[in-house]
Symmetry: C2
Subunit: 157 residues, 2 copies
């Protein structure tokens, strides 16, 4: 039995992502970071997480380069934890989970919500799209081995 998720389904990015994230608290820490929280004590207050668990998860997120730890310029006893570009790239996954939880779990819309700065309107649902932007459902999809894939345009030849 593999002790590491990476050992199963080797050619899939999902176990890699799950290994990097750690556990559910890591998702909640990222959510707080996307809300602008960056100090250890503020994560503690916002999440009600145990100090040792927070410390462990933040270290892991820093090791995975999902967050970056820097010492505060104005108080060198304090550290700041900020999302890296790699961390920011997790936003679609977090939002997809949040929207699902909203639809099935919470029963009411999440608050606060993310809106487009340009027009102040809430973002749309995170959806699966074809290469040309058409929205696809599960029933529109098929699994293919990478060797079976043509280049865009092949279908028209």
């Amino acid at each position: 039995m593999p002790t590491d998720l990476k050992d199963c389904l080797a050619e899939c990015g999902l176990p890699c992502a799950l290994e990097a994230m750690g556990d559910r608290w890591s998702f909640m820490i990222l959510r707080a970071a996307f809300n602008g929280i960056c100090h250890f004590e503020d994560f503690l207050d916002a999440l009600g997480i145990a100090r040792n668990i927070l410390s462990n998860r933040l270290s892991r997120l820093v090791d995975e380069e999902i967050m970056q730890r820097t010492v505060c310029a104005d108080d060198r006893r304090k550290a700041e934890y900020r999302l890296t570009d790699k961390g920011i790239d997790l936003l679609p996954a977090l939002l997809a989970l949040r929207q699902w939880g909203e639809k099935y779990g919470l029963g009411v819309p999440s608050n606060p919500l993310l809106a487009d700065r340009q027009d102040g309107l809430p973002i749309g649902p995170i959806a699966i799209q074809a290469h040309d932007g058409r929205q696809l459902t599960w029933h529109d999809l098929q699994w293919l081995d990478r060797s079976e894939i043509g280049a865009p345009g092949d279908c028209c030849n």
Copy 2:
């Protein structure tokens, strides 16, 4: 300290989703289910997961109505576990995590991959979109309290 993720950030769908999912193995079970696996022994083989953990996670997914358990018509000693519509709705979140893992962890594209039945081409990246379909990055977004949100079209008035 809350013992339940639902106790923190009450107005957010993310902890609800994480509570429903359980842990990382649940994501891997769902991934296998999306690959067409439906029997207990086949999940065991595909994931290399311990029997008791698989049993526990499948029960949880059934309790959460993410999967449905039915007895096989041709062999009543065997059960089938299939994704419900609620489970299928987790696909964007799984794919967003998978694509992230592919970009940062795996280094090579996942295989097999999901393609559009219509043209046989791989799906596009899971992305954040405005209500009108424009693609948005984190830097295009702002948090708003629900009370601050206008209806679509308000920006033009």
